[in-house]
Amino acid sequence: MINQDNPAGSRPAAGPLPPSLQFNAQGRLRHLLTIEGLSGALITEILDTAESFAGMNAQAVKKVPLLRGKTVMNLFFEASTRTRTTFELAAKRLSADVLNINISTSATVKGESLLDTLRNLQAMYVDMFVVRHADSGAAHFIARHVAPHVSVLNAGDGRHAHPTQALLDMFTIRRHKGDFTRLKVAIVGDILHSRVARSQIHALNLLNTGEVRVIGPKTLLPAHVEDLGVHVFHDIRAGLRDVDVIIMLRLQKERMESGLLPSEHEFFQLWGLTEERLALAAPGCIVMHPGPANRGVEIDSRVADGPQSVILEQVSNGIAVRMAVMSTIMGGSVNQGAGA
C-alpha cells in the first residue's frame, strides 16, 4: 500500500498530490480527486446542481441527454457494490455509455502495469475514468497520465480521499439541516483508516460548519488529527452531547492491522451507537453511515433502521450528487467564448 503511514495526503509516497491538478488553465474543474483545493462556493454549486438532478425522479423518463455520446469507464481495482452501482446509474441517467472494469480479476493478474492498462483503455476513446483503488494517490497518478480531454473521478483511493461520498453526505446534511454554520457534526469510529472521514472533514470545514468533532479510540485516530480543525473526543458520551449530525464510520476490518483493538464486541461496548447514546444528541439529530454498516459493531440495528437514520437516503442522494459531479467535470471541454 502506498502512503501507509501518511494520512491526509500530507506526504504521500506516490508523489505530491497537487489539488491544482483538478483544475484546467481556465479554472474549470476537470478532475475530482480530493475535496482539498475546492472552494465552499464550488461545493455549494455542485450541491445545487445535484438538487436539480434529484428532482428528475419526478420524470417518467429519468434520463437527461447531457453526456450523450460520452464513454465513462468505472475502473475498480477494489471491490465496491454501492459506489460502483450509483456511479453507473448516474452516468446512465446522464445518457453516457458505461463500462465496468474489475481490474483485480483482469489485466493486472496477467502482469500488465497500471500505465499499460490505462493506455489501452484510453485507446478505446474513453472520456472519463471513475477510479477506485486501494492505494492512496492512485487517482492522482491516473489523472497525471491521461490525455488532455479525459476526466478522472476519484471513487476512493486508499486512506486518502473519497470526495463524492463526502459531497453526498454534505447534500444529505443540507437537505435535513440547512445552514452548516450552526451545526455540530460528530464523526465516530475508525477515523485512521477512513478516506471518507478525511474528505468529510475537509468538506465540512469548507462549508463553515459550526463544530466538527471526531470520536474514537486513540489507536484509530490519525496523529495530529486536531490540525484538521476538529475537536477530538475519546469518550463517546461526551462527544455526542448536543450534536445535530452523527456520522458513524465502518470499522475497516479488511484494512486493520492486528492489535489496534481487542475485539468487535468490545468496540461496540465502547464506541457503538446505541439508542441510549443517540438520546444524548440534540433532538432531531440525524444518523449517517457511508455503508456497508457492521451491525452490532459500530452501530446497533435499532439505530441503523430507526427514525433518525438517513442511511438509505444517502444511497439515493449518491446518484444525484455523482450526476452533478460528472456533468460539472465533463461540461465545457471545448473552451469557447460565451454564446447567447
Partner: protein, 169 residues
C-alpha cells in the same frame, strides 16, 4: 421602443383566451421556462384565473451547447406539479430568438410524459430562428440589430431592457 410589460401581458392574455377557445381547450397547463419565462407565466396564470399550480422548467440539462459551455452555474430544479400525459401544455418564455431554448424545453417536457398538445406564448419575439419553431401568442415583435439583445428584468416590476452586446474580440 418596447411597450410596458403590463400592456404586453394584457394583450397576451386576450390573445390566449381567443386561441384557447378556438382550439376548444378549457384546461391548459402553464409551464414557464426559468427564469424570465416563469415570471411571465405567473402573470398570465393570474390574468387567466387558472387554479392549477404553474409548472417550471429549467432546461440546463437539455441544452445543446453543454459540451461547449459546460454546466450553467445556477440550475434550479424543474417542477411539474401535474401529470403531463394527455394535457394541453402552454409553454411560456420571455424572449423567442433562435428557438433552441424551446427545443430543449420540449425535449424535457416529453421526458415527463406525452402531452396532448404543446403551445408557445412569448412576451417578445425577434427574428433569427435557427429551428422551425413558432409562437402561437406573442406580446410584441421587436426588430433588433445583431449586436442588440433584449432582456427581461424582474420579478417586480417586470421591465424589458435592450442591451448592447460587447463586440466579439
Amino acid at each position: 421602443m418596447t411597450e410596458p410589460v403590463s400592456t404586453l401581458l394584457d394583450r397576451m392574455a386576450d390573445a390566449l383566451r381567443r386561441h384557447l377557445s378556438e382550439q376548444h381547450i378549457t384546461d391548459p397547463a402553464l409551464v414557464g421556462i426559468h427564469t424570465g419565462g416563469v415570471w411571465v407565466a405567473e402573470q398570465l396564470h393570474q390574468r387567466l384565473g387558472l387554479n392549477e399550480p404553474l409548472g417550471k422548467l429549467d432546461i440546463s440539462f437539455y441544452r445543446d451547447d453543454f459540451s461547449r459551455m459546460g454546466m450553467h452555474p445556477q440550475v434550479r430544479p424543474s417542477s411539474l406539479p401535474f401529470a403531463v400525459d394527455e394535457r394541453h401544455i402552454l409553454l411560456v418564455d420571455d424572449v423567442l430568438f433562435t428557438g433552441r431554448t424551446i427545443r430543449a424545453a420540449m425535449n424535457e417536457l416529453f421526458d415527463y410524459g406525452r402531452p396532448a398538445s404543446v403551445m408557445l406564448a412569448v412576451l417578445v419575439e425577434r427574428d433569427g430562428r435557427e429551428l422551425p419553431i413558432q409562437a402561437q401568442v406573442v406580446g410584441q415583435h421587436l426588430k433588433l440589430r445583431a449586436d442588440e439583445q433584449v432582456k427581461l428584468r424582474g420579478p417586480d416590476p417586470l421591465r424589458l431592457d435592450i442591451v448592447q452586446l460587447e463586440p466579439a474580440s
